[in-house]
């Protein structure tokens, strides 16, 4: 290969590498940080997993976080309510059946859009939804929705062992803690979060 071809090759290689590591395509781009409701909904829609916290009955009431998969709906059609597929063989569901107090925490960091910003930097968005973790009533319309939401995003769940008695759970949201910029948590009510277009006074779009 001639030196000029080698150089061109090197440029291709460097550009290709940079593009592949600097960010991944997102079906919906990150909202303006001033739009708290849209940012929170985006974090829930884009993340496929988070940490679900319950009060541990076995560990003296300690807050117990557990890695779980979740879904709020099909891609671009999420409703904001996180659904889970849990078994009481696992401490999280077992804890929730005794004490429903729970929170779900997700970060922008694993989405790849924080770049070189530290995961704890307030401009790398983080969200905690606090409320009650409850079983979705079997054979209800909501159970159908939860099943579709979860199995679309997590197709592997369809094959999980029936003997483990997985059930659909949801987080009934009572409080929202969102940090997506400097200046502390953004004020955001569950109502504004669940109906961001019509009720969000922070909307900038």
């Amino acid at each position: 290969m001639k030196p000029v071809s080698f150089l061109l090759c090197l440029i291709f290689l460097v550009v290709g590498f940079r593009e592949s590591v600097q960010g991944r395509p997102l079906s919906v781009s990150k909202p303006d940080p001033r739009n708290a409701a849209a940012t929170a909904r985006w974090l829930v829609a884009q993340n496929s997993w988070g940490v679900l916290n319950t009060i541990s009955s076995e560990l003296g009431g300690a807050p117990f976080g557990n890695v779980v998969s979740f879904s709020d709906g099909s891609p671009n059609e999420g409703r904001g309510i996180p659904y889970f597929y849990l078994t009481a063989l696992d401490p999280t569901a077992k804890n929730a059946l005794k004490d429903g107090r729970a929170s779900l925490t997700v970060s922008e960091y694993p989405l790849g859009t924080c770049g070189k910003i530290d995961p704890e930097n307030p401009t790398c968005a983080k969200l905690t939804l606090t409320g009650k973790l409850k079983i979705v009533e079997e054979k209800s319309d909501e159970a159908q929705y939860a099943k579709s939401a979860l199995f679309t995003k997590h197709p592997e769940m369809k094959t999980w062992p029936k003997s483990h008695k997985f059930q659909f759970f949801k987080l009934e949201i009572e409080n929202i803690f969102l940090i997506d910029w400097f200046g502390g948590p953004k004020p955001l009510t569950p109502e504004q979060y669940l109906h961001p277009k019509t009720n969000n006074p922070d909307s900038v779009q």
Copy 2:
């Protein structure tokens, strides 16, 4: 560019792209799942952030998870104890100062080594360290260690505003919940976790 040079270039490009997206280099590869202590230490050493859970004094005692950066030491020299750089302007430190009960949860998923396995699949490892979240005594040797551990892994922290009064915290580990394969949580004591080579009966290495 001649066709052969173009072809070579294309091969370079495809190989470079594949290598950059298929997995990131890890200084230490994933331990055998049968080695519970090594797997837990690997998860703590490789992750730079996790969800730190406390009991929320403002939300009726609810378990409150928060995205935080942490470090257990310089790369390949970690001691297993997670250190944090927190401000009481944030609810997590504020909660811990009232009630030290806490847990730190990390997942293998963001490390990129779970492949197409679902984040809730037991073979995609997850770890929850439960214990007490405490301030590291100022001007102690441990404070120096915490500072070095954190600022090496999170250089941005050096520039965080002094007015926010960040302090070094650590999690004193009392209980370990590790899932890294089928068959439920692995038995693992804090002692086995902190001294994996000498005291871990699960060791397969």
